[in-house]
């Protein structure tokens, strides 16, 4: 029984990282109504960014999150102007396909450079041992980092002028423009933050598990599940839902093979979509 409890706590910690990844997806989806299919590729790039930085300067990888965030923001701006700006407001099909095209290009380049063999960031923080179970330091540090970044984003969105502008554009783009907000600038910033969050969560994952350039797609699926659970445009709800998903994984892993997990997540995804189209934390549609 206590084994299940330990597995649950571990799931909880990893879940915070899922939540962080989903926040990026949820932010972009909520603000510009674009489903960012580069998400998985960006998570993978975050992993490799961390790997390269750690190989260059061997210091505590949680310090290296800061340059990763910076790189993610820059990358986000590039991708926004390359593929997203031109399709915002056009049919969903077009934005799905254009972000998807970028995803293919990134995966293609990544496969050519790093092949699909696994890498890992070789760094171990001392863990905490309770009874027969040890919680690795990396999991704890990653969860704490994820929560800190999530709180910072929450503060940014609700307490700063730019953050309020982002929420205004998400609510009603035309009204926001009439109030003098430059929606192009806001969309660029929001997209850049979304990508930076994906990269950062990828960087955190790279300190927990081995990864390949294709690993992003697994976390992309998790991010979709979490975003749907939380309801659109609710970044903080995404963190909570991410923790819930991690908890669920923690509960089931002692009993079934890990390779079944995508099936369970997918089932959850469909059930939630059909039963709670507005998300568990979302408001019920009035009409």
């Amino acid at each position: 029984m206590s084994g299940v409890l330990a597995s649950m706590i571990d799931g909880l910690l990893v879940g915070a990282v899922y939540g962080l990844a989903a926040m990026g997806l949820s932010l972009i989806w909520g603000v510009m109504d674009v489903i960012n299919l580069t998400h998985g590729a960006m998570i993978a790039l975050g992993m490799f960014c961390m790997y390269l930085l750690f190989a260059a300067v061997t210091i505590n990888p949680y310090v290296l999150l800061l340059p990763t965030i910076g790189a993610g923001l820059l990358l986000g701006i590039v991708v926004y102007w390359m593929a997203v700006h031109w399709v915002v407001g056009r049919s969903m099909l077009m934005s799905l396909l254009s972000t998807f095209a970028v995803n293919m290009m990134v995966i293609g380049i990544g496969t050519a450079v790093w092949s699909t063999s696994p890498y890992n960031v070789n760094f171990v923080l001392p863990g905490i041992t309770i009874g027969a179970y040890t919680f690795t330091g990396n999991h704890i540090a990653a969860a704490i980092s994820a929560v800190v970044i999530a709180l910072a984003l929450q503060f940014f969105l609700y307490r700063t002028r730019t953050g309020k502008a982002i929420r205004a554009v998400a609510d009603n783009r035309e009204a926001a423009e009439l109030m003098g907000i430059s929606s192009t600038a806001v969309l660029t910033i929001a997209f850049a933050i979304g990508i930076a969050l994906a990269c950062t969560s990828g960087a955190l994952v790279s300190t927990l598990f081995p990864f390949t350039i294709l690993s992003g797609s697994v976390y992309q699926l998790k991010s979709f599940v979490v975003t749907i659970l939380a309801g659109l445009g609710k970044p903080f709800g995404a963190l909570v839902a991410g923790v819930l998903l991690g908890l669920l994984e923690g509960v089931v892993t002692p009993f079934i093979a890990v390779s079944w997990i995508p099936l369970i997540e997918f089932g959850l995804f469909v059930v939630v979509l059909v039963a709670f189209p507005q998300g568990i934390f979302g408001k019920r549609a009035t009409a």
């Binding site: 077009m94 390779s259 995508p262």
Partner: protein, 321 residues
């Protein structure tokens, strides 16, 4: 009625060309090239039913092809059924599954559906990788006896080829028939404005579930034939995510919504891909080039090659559909 469409005869001519070219001089390497083109056309044409006609993106279209391959190989090898029957049964089983899946996930609109299709692909792959009768992650091999019943391996491969060409022609004919039917009009209405379509009496959920299962049938048959020809199957070949994605590139390149567009895109992309894969410099970058191509089409020419042709020659619409 369909016989009076000039395009119907064009399809038959194309299929005849596919059959005649490799037979003439018993050219096996040409046959192997053409088989890849035919598979590309089958996948792109059936994907067109979802993306082009109904406006629903299916990222996991390859699931049908892979599942068809599994059911087909299971029936020919383990149950020793004959090839045609197993391929047909594979098609029926997979489209039934698709219909049931469809009823569940097609309540989702637009983008949510697209996400669910990614989920379906990963879920089915996870299921098959854990499914004992289908050999889990190591897959299955064809027993050599299955070739014997068709008169030896050499003849069996030719028979599989002809059947695949037949499926290719059938894919294009199905696209053509649906395009000119009342059912097709209902799909177009869903694509343009689903709410308005529902108000006007289109049973959108049923229409979508039907077209989803129709778009599953021929790829599943093709999968059964193709993996019979290859003699083996495992989850990573059967559910090759990249092929699923490349199907979308083919369709957008040729022109979504058009029968010949899907076929043209499939042919051109397959040729481009085999060129890139064999070129020593570019072989690692074929995905990058495919992605770049898709991005260009989406941003600059959403109608694809056929959209461009229609703009140049509006009267071409009458003949080339």
């Amino acid at each position: 009625m369909i016989l009076r469409r000039p395009f119907f005869w064009i399809i038959l001519l194309i299929a005849a060309g596919f059959i005649y070219a490799p037979l003439h001089g018993n050219n096996v390497s040409l046959r192997e090239d053409l088989i890849l083109v035919a598979i590309a056309i089958i996948l792109a044409s059936n994907l067109n039913l979802m993306i082009g006609y109904t406006g629903y993106v299916n990222f996991g279209h390859i699931v049908f092809y892979g599942l068809g391959g599994y059911v087909g190989l299971y029936l020919t090898t383990v149950r020793s059924w004959n090839l045609m029957l197993s391929a047909l049964v594979a098609g029926v089983v997979v489209s039934l599954c698709a219909f049931l899946f469809g009823l569940a996930i097609l309540r989702l609109r637009g983008a949510y559906f697209a996400l669910a299709t990614i989920g379906i692909l990963q879920a089915v792959q996870a299921f098959v990788s854990n499914f004992d009768p289908w050999g889990r992650s190591t897959g299955m091999y064809l027993s050599f006896n299955s070739y014997q019943s068709l008169g030896g391996a050499r003849r069996a491969l030719w028979i599989a080829y002809f059947l695949i060409i037949a499926v290719m022609a059938l894919s294009m004919i199905v696209s053509l028939v649906i395009k000119n039917s009342k059912f097709g009009l209902g799909l177009f209405a869903i694509r343009e404005d689903e709410d308005a379509a529902v108000v006007l009496g289109v049973n959108a959920t049923m229409y979508k579930a039907i077209i989803y299962s129709v778009s599953a049938f021929l790829p599943a048959v093709a999968g059964a034939l193709m993996f019979f020809k290859n003699g083996m199957i495992d989850p990573s070949i059967a559910f090759e995510y990249m092929l699923s994605l490349e199907g979308i590139v083919m369709l957008m390149l040729g022109g979504q919504g058009s029968v010949i567009g899907a076929a043209l895109g499939g042919t051109l992309y397959e040729k481009l891909r085999s060129y890139l894969l064999t070129s020593p410099v570019l072989s690692n970058f074929h995905l990058v080039i495919a992605g770049g191509l898709l991005l260009m089409v989406v941003l600059f020419a959403p109608g694809g090659l056929i959209g461009w042709l229609y703009r140049l020659m509006p009267r071409a619409r009458k003949v080339i559909e």
